[in-house]
Amino acid sequence: MHQGEPTGSSRRRFRVPSRGPSSVVLLLALFALSSFPAAQESSADLEHQVKAAFLYNFARFVEWPPDTPSGEASFVIGILGSDATSLALEETVQGKSVGGRTIRVRPVKTQEEATQCHMLFVGSETPDRLARLLKAVRGSAVLTVGDSDTFAREGGIVNFVMQDHHVRFAVNTDAAERAGLKISSKLLQLAIIVHDEQGREETK
């Protein structure tokens, strides 16, 4: 085996640079910059961005009864159970306008707050809390959107379904009707239509 000097011209000396201070300053600079609002998640969060974009489209393709909720110039999307989709919502949908109203995204803590929303996104919830919540908003014109596969069948209106690494959505037309929401045919064409689970039918 030949024992040679590493390749390189004699004009240039190779040295291992000390990079410590530079990278520290660089990191600090990045942290300092982190207070700016930003628009998009990293590519790894594509799923959440897609879901947020869907929610925005739901707001566009669903018609609410004219009197709900009163008085505000804003369209309220409530968030229950915070996760990355909520984050994507805050960052890409908040501030956009739909039907002349500015979209506001706000966390929801109480059942009363839940009924004050146009749309309610339920990230992840324990089954019993979920049942209580759905009961609370029942009868109000709130478009409930869930992230679990069974959400719509259990009385929610819309839920996301992951299919073949694509985001799809299911709509419970019975529940939409109960809430007095008109879902455009364009949306229904693309949706998986589900109905109330048997035995859970509400007597009117």
Partner: protein, 664 residues
């Protein structure tokens, strides 16, 4: 403080960053129309977006994936002017590459034995295993199977994944996901010119029939004259004074097509690549353009993917694969008479996979699957070309299969557990069982802490068992056990922090024994390291990612650091939008610290910067990009392998690429 070039680059980058920080004015709640703003897309297109797949063989949020995952998207590929999968992998933390002017070898977390054949990581294209059945290679350089223009994203899953994927999933799994109609225009042309006489072109046609199948067909051709190179090891009048000309040429032809109809996807991929060997490797006469290799790889894959209501899914595939290698090696016998030897490897195999994924309630996902591969042909021939006696000709066949099971449980909103195990059986050496377990804690909003244990194996490949110059039929599989802690933190304002610390223990590593001169399961290696990555995107589209990796890989027998194992890797990527989504500049700087060579010297550390100017929609459907690689013309080299006289093989200096893509 030393004022080396690296520091100047870093401080330059730093001042640019800080200047930008001063310029950026925080804007209010008024969201802007961003180029990548998905809310602008029609619903149909949203439904066509494919989201992350890979770490657990089914869709999953990256924060819940039981490993450290990086994703490089088509946008990144365009912005930073990536030419090959090697460019893509070099941009993610913990990865580096080595090029010996014939093949490109991947290095993962400080592990890259000079001229191992990329058999310690698993390469997938849309879930189809690319590693061949002869050398176990997954090619990542210009010799790669897939044109990067057709890639939607590359998912890099670190750590061992044998519990799902079996052999080769040793240090990482790299899943390349291709684009599909409607993400590509109906007809697209791409052409480029690059330094060293390198033209390349591509034609892609995609179409979706109303309620019928959608398909994509693409052909690419790449050619390079290569360079005039000087190697001081050959600086002698008998070998052209160390100068080699016309022996660094390369060409690669690729064909790719995919068709989906309802639940079925049929994919056909093929490539043929030929490369001259300019280094005088294996004792061939220096500056003889007759020393060259050809690698052909192709497959036909039929996949069935069905999702039932309630989250249950079934996926099955059946495939036929082929690999062919031809190596031409001239030799002096005796000087100046030249005899040409030619060797061939053929690998033909077919296989099938099936898996079922069931959602048991809302909190549990169970995946079970099987895999079977039948290596119809593993054939090796080595002969004298200028007709002579056939020296060696041998053919084998073998079978292998595996069963696996994985259970992911959401114990509560804060805790998820994932356990998996896979058993493989090989005709060649017998059985091997590998578990994996992950505990994922999400104690706070936007924080995930993953505690990971994994194990994996690499079955000895046919080349090591029967055909290589050091072949040993008694080889056992190599095995690895790993412990890793991963922390992922999303902060407000789109800041993402990822950190991980890992410990790897590798046993029975196949190496050439100095006494018997055969491959033996001799080496034990421990690897430990820490990785940190910070990424941030801004409202105006500016984005920056910085990562740093510290690692130490030690041979337990000799207590020495491994060869070709840098202690430190640092990567900086920044994209500066100049005019919204029309015009932008992508800059990257990659630092690799010194690496030990086979002769015990050092290949010095280096930093390389690349710059890409991207202009989109210059005219309707026309995109242009101009790239400068190794902007500062840094002289650096990668450690050579045992077949090289060169201890360090010098890499490319400054080079250019101009590329256009036109679609309508």
């Amino acid at each position: 403080m030393n004022t080396s070039r690296m520091n100047r680059i870093v401080s330059c980058a730093r001042s640019v960053l800080l200047a930008l920080a001063c310029l950026l004015v925080p804007s209010g709640a008024e969201a802007q129309d961003l180029p990548e703003d998905l809310t602008q897309l029609p619903l149909e297109q949203l439904m066509a977006i494919d989201v992350v797949y890979g770490a657990s063989k089914h869709d999953q949020r990256t924060t819940e994936a039981p490993s450290s995952v990086s994703v490089v998207t088509a946008a990144d590929i365009e912005r930073y002017g990536y030419r090959t999968l090697a460019d893509v992998l070099r941009s993610v933390h913990g990865f580096y590459s080595t090029y010996d002017r014939n093949y490109t070898y991947v290095g993962i977390r400080g592990f890259s034995r000079p001229s191992d054949y990329n058999s310690r990581f698993l390469l997938l294209v849309d879930g189809h295993r690319v590693n061949d059945n002869f050398y176990g290679s997954g090619y990542i350089g210009p010799e790669g199977l897939i044109d990067l223009d057709l890639v939607d994203r590359v998912e890099v899953i670190r750590g061992p994944s044998s519990s799902l994927y079996g052999t080769s999933a040793f240090f990482a799994v790299v899943n390349v996901i291709t684009r599909m109609e409607p993400d590509v225009p109906r007809l697209q042309f791409s052409g480029l010119g690059a330094s060293y006489g390198t033209p390349a072109g591509r034609v892609t046609f995609a179409h979706a029939f109303e309620d019928g199948p959608k398909f994509l067909v693409s052909g690419s051709a790449f050619r390079s004259d290569g360079q005039r190179l000087f190697y001081k090891e050959y600086d002698d009048p008998l070998s052209n004074n160390g100068v080699t000309q016309h022996s660094d040429d390369e060409r690669n032809y690729r064909l790719f097509s995919t068709m989906t109809f309802r639940d079925f996807t049929v994919q056909l991929a093929a490539n043929s690549r030929e490369k001259g060997i300019p280094t005088g490797a294996y004792g061939t006469p220096f500056n003889d353009p007759g020393a060259r290799t050809v690698d052909d790889r192709s497959y036909l894959d039929v996949k069935y993917d069905h999702a039932f209501a309630g989250g249950t899914g079934v996926q099955a595939r059946v495939y036929v694969d082929r690999y062919y290698y031809r190596g031409d090696y001239p030799y002096y016998s005796p000087y100046p008479t030249i005899i040409r030897y030619r060797e061939h490897s053929w690998g033909d195999w077919w296989g099938t996979e099936a898996k079922v994924m069931m959602k048991a309630g809302t909190r549990q996902t169970v995946t079970a699957g099987m895999e079977f591969r039948d290596n119809l042909k593993q054939h090796f021939r080595w002969k004298n070309v200028d007709p002579g006696p056939l020296d060696f000709d041998s053919q084998r066949s073998s079978r292998e299969g595996g069963l696996y099971f994985q259970d992911e449980m959401k114990v509560s909103d804060q805790v998820a557990v994932s356990v998996g195990v896979r058993h493989d059986h090989y005709e060649t050496f017998g059985g091997s069982t590998h578990p994996r377990a992950a505990l994922i804690l999400m104690p706070f909003e936007r924080t995930a802490l993953k505690l990971l244990y994994g194990s994996a194996f690499r079955a000895p490949v046919v080349y090591e068992l029967y055909y290589g110059s050091h072949a040993n039929p008694d080889l056992k599989p190599e095995s690895i056990r790993t412990f890793e802690v991963v922390l992922e933190q999303y902060a407000l304002g789109n800041l993402r922090l990822t950190g991980s610390a890992y410990y790897y223990a590798i046993d029975d590593l196949v190496s050439v024994d100095t006494v018997s001169n055969l491959f033996e399961n001799i080496d034990e290696v421990t690897a430990k390291g820490v990785e940190l990555e910070v990424a941030k995107r801004f409202k105006n589209g500016f984005e920056v990612t910085y990562s740093s990796t510290l690692q130490e890989n030690r041979d337990q027998g000799t207590d020495r650091i491994l060869t070709n194992s840098p202690r430190h890797l640092a990567k900086l990527n920044a994209f500066f939008p100049i005019k919204r989504d029309k015009l932008g500049v992508g800059a990257e700087v990659q630092y690799t610290s010194r690496r030990l060579t086979l002769s015990g010297n050092d290949a010095p550390g280096f930093a390389v910067a690349n710059l890409t100017f991207l202009s989109r929609q210059l005219a309707k459907g026309l995109d242009l990009s101009a790239s400068v690689y190794n902007v500062f013309d840094k002289k650096y080299g990668d450690p050579g392998g045992p077949q090289h006289l060169q201890d360090v093989i010098e890499q490319d200096g400054r080079s250019f690429r101009l590329k256009f893509t036109w679609g309508f």
